[in-house]
């Protein structure tokens, strides 16, 4: 199966690989997927508490090229966005941007889950429950 240029670029030069200090109050961590399913994504955001803007995002992903590209792209999109804006990122935006084939759509779903899960974690840590959406777990 041929991958799109954009997937290859993110795979070969992944953006924002790394780990943020999850003990910090303004860091939200999302860990989604499972090793036996063949993909696990960990996505972290660091939020400026005064403005509610995401100042940094990092990821590590165990998975195929599309999973790695989806998470790399997600971290790029998250930086500079407010939490509310970040919640509007839809998996189909990722599919479109990376030209993922139908068999790889689950990779984008996982990335959306990871974003929502990281935001939820940040909100829980900071006692912000109000608009907390429930994360779809696509069971």
């Amino acid at each position: 199966m041929a991958y799109s240029e954009k997937v290859l670029d993110h795979f070969q030069n992944p953006k924002n690989v790394g780990t943020l200090d999850k003990s910090k109050k303004n860091v939200g961590t999302g860990l989604v997927g499972a090793p036996e399913c063949g993909d696990v994504m960990r996505l972290q955001i660091e939020v400026d508490e005064a403005s509610g803007i995401i100042t940094d995002a990092k990821f590590k992903t165990f998975g195929c090229g599309s999973a790695i590209a989806s998470s790399s792209l997600a971290t790029e999109w998250l930086k500079g966005k407010s939490i509310d804006e970040a919640l509007t990122i839809d998996n189909m935006d990722i599919v479109e941007e990376l030209a993922l084939p139908p068999v790889k759509i689950h990779c984008s779903v996982l990335a959306e889950d990871a974003i929502k899960s990281a935001i939820l974690d940040y909100r829980k840590k900071n006692g912000i429950e109000a608009e907390a959406e429930t994360v779809n777990n696509h069971a």
Binding site: M1, G38, V40, F62, G65, A67, K104, L110
Partner: protein, 406 residues
Amino acid sequence: METKRLIYLDNNATTPVDPRVVDTMLPYFYDKPGNAASRSHPFGWIAEEAVDYAREQVANLISADPKEIIFTSGATESDNLGLKGVFEMYASKGNHIITTRTEHKAVLDTCQKLEKSGGQVTYLEVGPDGLISLEDLKAAITDKTILVCIMWANNETGVIQPMKEIGDICAAKGVLFMSDATQAVGKIPVNPRETGVHIMAFTSHKMYGPKGVGALYVSRKNPRVKVTAQMDGGGHERGMRSGTLNVPGIVGFGKAAEIAKAEMAADAARLSKLRDKLEAGLCQLEETYVNGNKDHRMPHVTNISFKHVEGEGLMMTFNKNIAVSSGSACTSASLEPSYVLVSMGLGDDLAHSSIRFSLGRFTTEEDVDFAVEAVSKGVNHMRDLSPIWEMYKEGIDLNSVVWSAH
């Protein structure tokens, strides 16, 4: 990875055609275009003679009688003909077939189809090393059993089943023994008569011959086995497989068999050394496991799991330079890992982390050295990206983590 090298380590998928085979085939496309079934002119006679010669070459490779070779379009057709042909021919004797969980899909899917037509199939489990238990086999045979079908060597792991022992059990119980020997013929000595195999499927394109031609060995004496044709037409191949013979393909298959017979021992000795070198090089990496019984396997294959790295992603790090195949198929929502490895008791995580390396006649030591370096680099890169590798390194027990299934 700046180099433009392209290294082929996927010889279990298919082998390149040996140039000597190509040369032998070429005249049969234009200069000698006859139909081997045309009895009335020299074009037909020449084609028939060429097919007869190739049939001898192929029979010779497996120490069989040329009359025991039925040419087909490949191993999948041979597996279908053997299984369905026996099921129909011996329907009055019983309807029970015994096979294994780790067969190729050509056998498993055919067995499933037979189950829908009233067949009963027992799928033997394999141990962690990929081998079946002879006791399980003995216990599974009933008075309704007509056929035991067990592959000679596994395509994913290279594990070789105890064929002679299985043959003895089948002989003692009086049931037919069939084998899918696709990965074994031409690479290791295979002698169905001595082994007690009565029906055997194999193909040309795994032994440096062309694609689109294979064979089914059907024993002609002690016992004389018959299979019901699955393709009706002109009654070719002693009525067991109709259809105009693929003369250039068969000529190539014959030549490939002749070369394999002459060079098998030397190829196997050289390749097992290279394979061992590849394996030793890659096993320098932490948390790396060889899958399958190392004492009973093909000389040119190794299947390795690189823990906490996903196989398809890993392949992407080097697949511009090195062709291999992965036990992880990340191509569907269900993400199914290799059923062969899962049948051996590997966790899904290790099955998703596996890569099969299959060397061949044209693999060089330089190729192996290059592969060790490139694959090691890829594994390290993927581990740097892997959250579960990080967790493992921090000493977190991954089994204690509550994963969100999706």
